[in-house]
Structures are given as C-alpha cells and as structure tokens.
C-alpha cells in the first residue's frame, strides 16, 4: 500500500496514542495551543493565589481553635473580619479579575483580527462535520477530525444542525458552544505537531459521551498537501476485495447517507467517507480507523455507540463484510 508523504507523522502520533495510553492527549494541562497555554498560566497563577488563601484560612482557623488566649483574643475582633474578610478579598480578587480580563481581551482581539473563517465545524448528533475551504474557495467536507497547520491561526465557524453541542479541544483552546440558529467563532493556533483529542462538552442526549474527535497538527506544507488530497476524489479500489467492497457499498444502500466523492454515493446524512481510511478514528473517535473496526462498526454500531443514528447492517456475509471493510480502510 502506497503512503502519501503526510502519513508518517500521523502514523507515529496514532501509534503513540495506542501504545502509551498517552495521558494528556485530552487535557487542559498539556497545552499545545496558544490559547490553552495562556489559560494554563492563568490557571496556575490563580490556583496558587487560592491555595495561599486556603492556607491562610486554615492557619487562622487553627489558631482560633487552639491558639493561646492572647492570640485568640486578638483574632476575636470585628477588625479582623473586615481586614481578612473584606479588604483582603477585594485586593486579591481585583488582581485576579484584572489579569483574567486582560487575557480575555487578548483572545478577543486575536479573534477579531482573524478575518477568514477557513473551517466550519457542524455539531451533529453525535459526530462532527468539518468543512475546510481550500485555496480556491472550494469546500472540502470531512468529519470527526480537525487538521491544523502548525503555528498558523485558524478561525473556526461553529454551528449546530440539531441540539446544542460544545466544541472542546482542551490541549488547543477552551470550549465554545454550537447553538442552533447561531454562528460562533473560535480562533485557535496549534504550536505543537501531533495528535490530541477533544470531545463534546455540552450534554446533547444519547451517546453524548461518545462524541469526540481528534486534532492533528501538521507542518504547514504537509497540511497544504493533505488538504489538496482531501479535496480530491476517493482512491479507486485496487484489489479484488476492495472492488467487491466498493460494489457492496453502493449495493447495500450506504450511499443513501454517506458520500464517497468520485462514486455514486452522495448521501449527506452521515459523515463523508471519501478519505475515511486516512483518519485517526471512526465513529467520532470511538474506534481506530482500521479494517477490523469498520467491520465491527457496520454490524455492531448500536452496541459500540448506543442510540447513534446509523442502522446496524447485520445481513452481510462475513466475506462481504471483510470486503466492505477493506474498501473503506483503503480510502486514504
């Protein structure tokens, strides 16, 4: 199987997830984006301040309980309440508030200065449609995975097709809701190569827990190459099994819901599968994107992800199922 030049990075990254169980692949503390980094610093500063206050309360409380009579008499005054309960919080909170507002303003300014919204993400029950606009202004439809060019700000348009969802890739930036009837904009910038994970953060019913995605950061050149490939039509099946799978895809009616550009399948209800084999995962980050997972998903998706909107296809004979899975896995 030939691999395009964009693959090696991804393969390593995916292998990394699979092997190490890589703690921090979905974590606000392992920041790999400008926004997440600024928030992380704010978090540590504010947490430090709060910890100091907690310590103060505990020390004073202990003294009040077990201090000497003199200390206790000194503590038992309204002035203490005013000083520690009123003046101290005002000073501390004014500082924290100012800091937070400055961070907020910096982000808002970044958002305002990002003019083009090159990526639209549509929240759906329970997956993500990701639409890129390529250099020629054409739409490139993908799903359940966001690819980012390293070090370049990208402005995301966040919308919803049904209920409220929330887009949250904690390593890159904070979350922002996707609300029917509204368009929200989030400008993000990833500054670390590799794969991280995100998840819907607003309860959206049913398998809300299983509505996740991956964020893949590529060097700019690789990103451009990838985008060009993503815009192209699907790979033509090469082996006999893949060809059988391609025929089965049409024959079984999969094309009523899914698109594979370059074939008869032009459905718009489920995710676009044109390059599904090149993604990190399927089923909105519930299974790795390999042939075995495709086979499992097709027959058993209601157990893997209860209440998801795809019907189970259990009628396929084992060899047909393998052929179909092989075809889908070959769509890179």
């Amino acid at each position: 199987m030939t691999r395009s030049p964009v693959r090696p990075h991804l393969v390593l990254a995916v292998a990394g997830i699979a092997l190490a169980g890589c703690e921090g692949v979905q974590s606000a503390l392992y920041a790999s984006g400008v926004e997440a980094r600024e928030i992380r610093l704010l978090f540590w500063v504010a947490t430090g301040v709060c910890a100091a206050v907690l310590l103060l309360v505990m020390v004073i409380g202990t003294l009040a309980l077990a201090g000497s009579t003199r200390v206790r008499a000194w503590l038992a005054r309204e002035q203490l309440v005013i000083a520690l309960g009123l003046i101290l919080p005002v000073v501390v909170l004014s500082g924290l508030l100012t800091y937070a507002l400055l961070v907020l303003q910096a982000g808002a300014a970044r958002n305002a200065s990002a003019t083009d919204s090159s990526v639209t993400i549509v929240g759906k029950r329970w997956w993500w449609e990701v639409v890129y606009r390529d250099a020629d202004g054409r739409s490139v439809v993908s799903a359940n995975e966001l690819r980012l060019p390293l070090g370049r700000p990208v402005s995301l348009r966040l919308v919803s097709d049904d209920v409220i969802h929330s887009f949250w890739a904690p390593n890159i930036a904070g979350k922002l809701d996707m609300i029917p009837g509204r368009v929200n904009r989030l400008t993000i910038q990833s500054d670390k190569l590799g794969v991280s994970r995100g998840q819907c953060a607003e309860y959206c019913g049913g398998p809300h827990a299983l509505m996740a995605f991956h964020v893949v950061t590529l060097p700019d050149a690789e990103y451009q190459a990838w985008l060009a490939r993503e815009a192209s039509t699907a790979r033509v099946p090469t082996t006999a099994a893949q060809r059988r799978g391609a025929a089965l895809f049409i024959e079984s009616g999969c094309g009523a819901c899914h698109s594979i550009r370059g074939t008869e399948a032009r459905g718009t209800i489920g995710p676009d599968l044109t390059h599904v084999g090149s993604r990190v995962s399927i089923g909105a980050a519930t299974l790795p994107a390999d042939a075995a997972s495709f086979a499992r998903w097709i027959t058993d998706n209601q157990h893997i992800k209860p209440e998801n909107l795809m019907p189970p296809f259990r009628h396929l004979a084992p060899e047909d199922l393998d052929a179909l899975a092989a075809y889908l896995a070959s769509l890179d």
Partner: protein, 381 residues
Amino acid sequence: MNVGRFRRAKSIALIVLATLVSLALLAAAFIASGLYNVAASESHFAVTTKLLAVTLRRSVETHSLSVEGMPSDDDLVPLGANHFAAACAPCHGSPAARRNPVVLNMLPAPPPLGEVASRWSPEQLFWIVRHGFKYTGMPAWPGEGRDDEVWALVAFLQRLPDIGEAQYRDLTGAAGIADRTEGPMPAFADPGANLARSCARCHGAEGAPPVSRRVPALHGQSAAYLERALREYRDGTRSSGFMEPVAAALASGEIEAIVEDYAGYDRIGSPAVAKDAESLERGRLIAQNGVRESGIPPCLACHSGRASKQFPVLAGLSAEYMTGQLSLWRRGLRDRSAYGAIMAVIANRLSDRQIRDVTGYLESLRDARPADAPDPGGARE
C-alpha cells in the same frame, strides 16, 4: 361478654374451614379416581352447556371492552374472505360448503358462522378471532401483533350473513380454488399442489392484481427478496397470521419455484388513485432526496431495483400496504431480521404526514427508478 363473642366467632370460623377442607378432599378424590369421562362422544350436562355458554359470552363481552380502532374500508372484505376460505371454512363451513362430518364430531363442534355477525359486535368478533377459545379447538391468531389482519377477517364476518353462495364464490374464486374448501382438512395443512394458486388467491396471478390494496403485488419483485420474505415468515422473524401458516407449509424447493414464477411476471402497478399534487411533490422529494434534517435517506437509493436484490422495489406497490408495513416497523414488529433492523431505524424517523406523502408518491410511480430522479446527492445544498 366480649370473650364469649370471640369464642363464637372462632367456632364459626372453624366450621367453615372444616367444610372447605372436606370439599377440597372430595374433589381431589373424584379427579384421582378417573371417574370423569372426557370423551368427546359424551356431551355435557345441559346445565354445564348452559353455564359454559354464559361464561364464554360474558368473558368475551368483558374482555372486548378494551378493543377499539376498527378500520372501515371495503378493501378488507375480499382479503378476509380469502383467508376465511382457506383457514376458517374447513371447520366452520361456508356459504358454498357445509361442515365436514369430521368436524361435526368435535365437542364443542365449530358452529356455522352465517349468523355470527348478529350475535357479536365487531369488537367482540375481533377479540374472539384474535384470542381464540380455551378447550374448544378455536386457535388464537398466529401472527404476533398483527391486529390489522384480524380486522380483515372481522370485516368479512360482518358481511357474511348477507353473502350468498354465488357472491362467496365470486369473492374467493379469483384463482378458481374456492371449491377446495370442501376438502376434509384445512387447506394450510395440505402441502400439495396448487401452491401457486394458493398464493394467487390473495396476491393475484400473472396479469391480475392482488385482491386487496393491503396485499402487495409480488409481480416482478426480485426472486431474492421474495425468497427472503418467505423464509422470514417461515422462521418467525416476520409475523403474519396470513403468511406464517402458508410459509410454514412450504418446502425449500417449493419456495424457489414460487418466487421464480412471481419474479418472472410483468410488474403490475396499482390502479391510479387521484392524489393531491402537493402531497405527491412532497413525497417525491422524500423518495428521491430524503430528508436530511430528520436523517431520512432517499427511499429510492435502495428501493429502485438498482441496489441489492434483497431490497424490494417500491414503485407501484399500494400505499396501504406500505403504510401498513411502516407501521409494523414503528411498532417494533419487523426489526428481528437483519434487513428489517435497517428499515426499522428509518421508519421511526418518518412522521405520519411524511409516510402519507411518500407512500402516495411511490404508489404513483410506474418505473422503478423515475427518469427525472436526481440522485441522493441532490439533498446537498
């Protein structure tokens, strides 16, 4: 004084208890002795007969109180008539045939049904046909959850008093088999010849439409689909009081023969029914484009004959039949097969109005895949 009252109450209770115990012992002894005669040749005491009759009537009256929702259309009668001829007449007789002597030696003997409609209300008839009677030989309806089929029979039974021999032969004679009901045994127990005619009784023979709009026209459907349907009826994954007994009696070779026949016939469209143009247009959009917001894929993506041969072609099928099947899916009665599970998901996403529109449109189609059909991708804006 209080104590005295308590003692009296206690002794009364003891006497009652002792009586009950001795009665129970007597009854046990009678049963154990084998003195009771269970012979069908021995009729009940008159009082027992009377008691049983009252019990039966009261039971039906009470239990049928919850029955409702009788559909009212004439299309039910021919369907009911043909099932009657095949399944009921062997025991109960018909306007064209008296009851068989074998049957007359049952206890109780199945009554002739000529007057049945005057004795029972439609709801009561429904309950009887649906649930049968204990200890009589009257079976319950075999198709699980298929109340819609029961109503067809009820509709016929209601008309039965007014139906003479000629009209009866007319109703059931479409395939020239009405006389078979005079045979000694129920037709469904005879896996003999005339199977094709047996199917044609309801589904219509070559060139002839089905007897009712509730019955699908099988003409020109793929053999693979028809065979699957019969096998599903046979193994109980698809339920029908009409089809399951028939399918159960079929041997594998017979199934192939029948489905080859029907697959080879020319397709038969439903007679044109005047349709509201707006509804047809809405139906066309659903069938050809699907409804993206509701997750409804275009029907014709699978059901136009170009996809798997396992999917039925819907063009020209009657709207009543399709609506009926969709409602079975929505009631959870058709998702036991692998194929049924796929459609179950979609059927549950269709609203009543969408079902009306899309079945109307599909019925009006003459070609399996209309020439002006944009492909499923047409839904993309």
